[in-house]
């Protein structure tokens, strides 16, 4: 867990300190402390109802915390001068007046923060909405609404960007586009904070992970560390002479366990070494493939104790 960072390095950062939010007798966010840094995509991961959206709303001062603070650039959100020029956020793609055109929606936001009118056309172009810029947002598909929300987030050319479940409703081309966009924004040195309930999505975009469950911090780690720690890697071996292969492996002090559909799973050995070993003993191999257990599994193991809504397995009960 990151502590307070002193001096100029606090620029472009989001710092949560002991952040809590209580609804009735339920703690939606439970003493959350972490720091979100510039230059990388930070994934904010947790099952549905873990408190991700509540946390993001508190970052933008939309919801007031029950306890703790959020600092952006070392300041409270309300103290930011023209906040859209520092923080751009996509919270809810439907947060648009349906009777207003995409152009006017963005113009309203631009004017409120002293952003030049020309920037509206630029961001519409960037998200590919120029052809429908003058159409009323009511007729937009979920994906178009999402793009409009992203355009609004980019409007002030902010150094810090927040996206709450940005891939929702996007088609595969749109998903690819938003991934590339987030990476390039981080590549420019910006702070990119993106929430998701899908580990597989995060694995493709995030460099750093903050995992929460029932409002509590479960992990704050680099993606590489998370993978190394949680994803078991092994080599899958298949041979017509399965028994002889097993003997050769155990002769070399290597443990092989039977895996899916009669193949052998070998952990802790490198595939090249295993291949050479088989060749030395003239064993024909039909398969020799390095495998990685899914991160989704690791994520589910991590959050297993803190899932808000459990589905019952099986049909009993």
């Amino acid at each position: 867990m990151a502590g307070r960072v002193p001096g100029p390095y606090r620029e472009w950062m989001i710092e949560l300190e002991d952040l809590s939010k209580r609804y009735g007798d339920r703690l939606a966010v439970d003493h959350l402390s972490c720091t979100i840094r510039p230059g990388v995509v930070t994934g904010f991961l947790g099952p549905n109802g873990a408190g991700k959206s509540t946390t993001m709303r508190m970052m933008l001062d939309l919801d007031s915390p029950t306890g703790g603070t959020v600092r952006i650039d070392g300041k409270h959100y309300r103290q930011l001068h023209n906040p859209l020029r520092t923080v751009g956020a996509l919270l809810d793609a439907k947060a648009v007046h349906g009777g207003r055109s995409a152009w006017n929606h963005l113009l309203c936001l631009a004017r409120s923060n002293g952003i030049p009118r020309s920037r509206v056309g630029e961001v519409l172009d960037l998200v590919g909405l120029t052809p429908v810029a003058r159409k009323r947002a009511k007729g937009f598909s979920l994906g178009m609404g999402q793009r409009l929300g992203i355009a609004a987030a980019l409007l002030g050319d902010p150094r810090i960007l927040m996206f709450d479940e940005p891939v929702n409703g996007l088609d595969p081309e749109g998903i690819h586009w938003i991934r590339t966009l987030m990476k390039s924004l981080a590549g420019q040195g910006r702070t990119v904070f993106v929430s998701s309930h899908l580990m597989s999505e995060m694995a493709l975009t995030a460099d750093h992970l903050i995992v929460i469950g029932q409002g509590r911090l479960l992990a704050d780690t680099s993606m590489a560390d998370f993978i190394a720690r949680n994803a078991r890697s092994f080599v899958l071996m298949r041979s017509p002479e399965q028994e002889r292969l097993k003997d050769v492996l155990s002769g070399a002090g290597i443990t092989a366990v039977p895996g899916a559909s009669g193949a052998l799973e070998v952990s802790g050995e490198d595939a090249a070494h295993l291949g050479e070993l088989a060749a030395r003993h003239r064993i024909v191999l039909h398969e020799l493939s390095p495998q990685r257990a899914s991160l989704e599994e690791a994520f589910m193991r991590l959050t297993a104790g803190s899932v808000e809504y459990h589905a019952r397995t099986g049909t009993g009960g």
Binding site: D63, P83, A95, H97, R100
Partner: protein, 256 residues
């Protein structure tokens, strides 16, 4: 900190880029003027059959404003929609992320919508006065007569305050259906019923619409009234201030 001029500009863009602005304000103007002219014409035909007593208290200015009773409902819808469409569309979260100073946000919104209501209210008031007087023919009042100019300007101010009062109430209630469900019957029915029943007549005099309408009367029919034209207007102003304070308190305190 948000800059007030920027937020005013933003709210102006917001209000002119939705259709409900044009139709609510348009309906307010058309209904008030059309009904005012119609009733003025009917009264003009009846005048010869009126009793001497009725002729003595005949107030041609106030007669031409009769349409406002219905036209004000469109202004209530305008005021309610300006505020509640932020909530019903979810736009409020986008708006407050752009302008986190909630007081500046709310009062810039109300200033712009109020200024627009004032412009339309004044045009409506003058239009309905001159159109009504044209129809009233030989019984007409002139803008130069004592109290008439005050009544006509007061009519425009009254329409503005009805809209601003609705904005304050809407900011407290947030939902368009709830706000309209309370304001519409209040101004259209309850206030009138209370004013007609003798037991509650005195209470009704202090309701925002009944007190505010005093400023549009030139011939004062009841000398029992505890306040004059501007006194009544002052009472209405207090109601508006209370509604705005309530709306601000709710916006300030609650999560968006």
């Amino acid at each position: 900190m948000a800059v007030v001029t920027q937020v005013l500009g933003s709210e102006w863009t917001k209000i002119k880029s939705v259709r409900s602005t044009v139709w609510t304000l348009g309906v307010a103007l058309v209904v008030t003027v059309a009904l005012g002219v119609l009733i003025s014409a009917l009264v003009n035909n009846e005048y010869d059959r009126m009793s001497v007593r009725d002729r003595l208290v005949f107030d041609p200015t106030y007669v031409s404003f009769t349409g406002m009773g219905l036209g004000q409902l469109a202004l209530i819808v305008f005021g309610v929609l300006v505020v509640t469409n932020e909530y019903s569309t979810g736009m409020i979260r986008t708006s407050l992320a752009a302008v986190p100073q909630r007081g500046i946000f709310l009062f810039c919104k109300i200033a712009i919508a109020g200024a627009l209501a004032l412009a339309v209210g004044m045009v409506t008031s003058f239009l309905t006065f001159f159109a009504g007087q044209a129809v009233l023919d030989g019984h007409r009042a002139s803008i130069g007569d004592p109290g008439v100019a005050r009544a006509v300007v007061g009519g425009g101010l009254y329409m503005t305050l009805i809209a601003v009062f609705s904005m304050g109430v809407a900011a407290m209630l947030r939902g368009p259906m709830l706000a309209l469900g309370i304001l519409m019957p209040f101004f259209f029915l309850i206030s009138n019923i209370l004013a007609t029943v003798s037991a509650t007549e005195k209470i009704a005099e202090y309701l925002p619409d009944k007190a505010g309408q005093k400023v549009m009367q030139v011939v004062l029919t009841d000398d029992t009234s505890p306040y004059g034209p501007w006194g009544g207007f002052g009472i209405m102003l207090l109601w508006v201030a209370a509604a705005l304070a309530g709306g601000y308190a709710v916006l300030k305190k609650r999560d968006a």
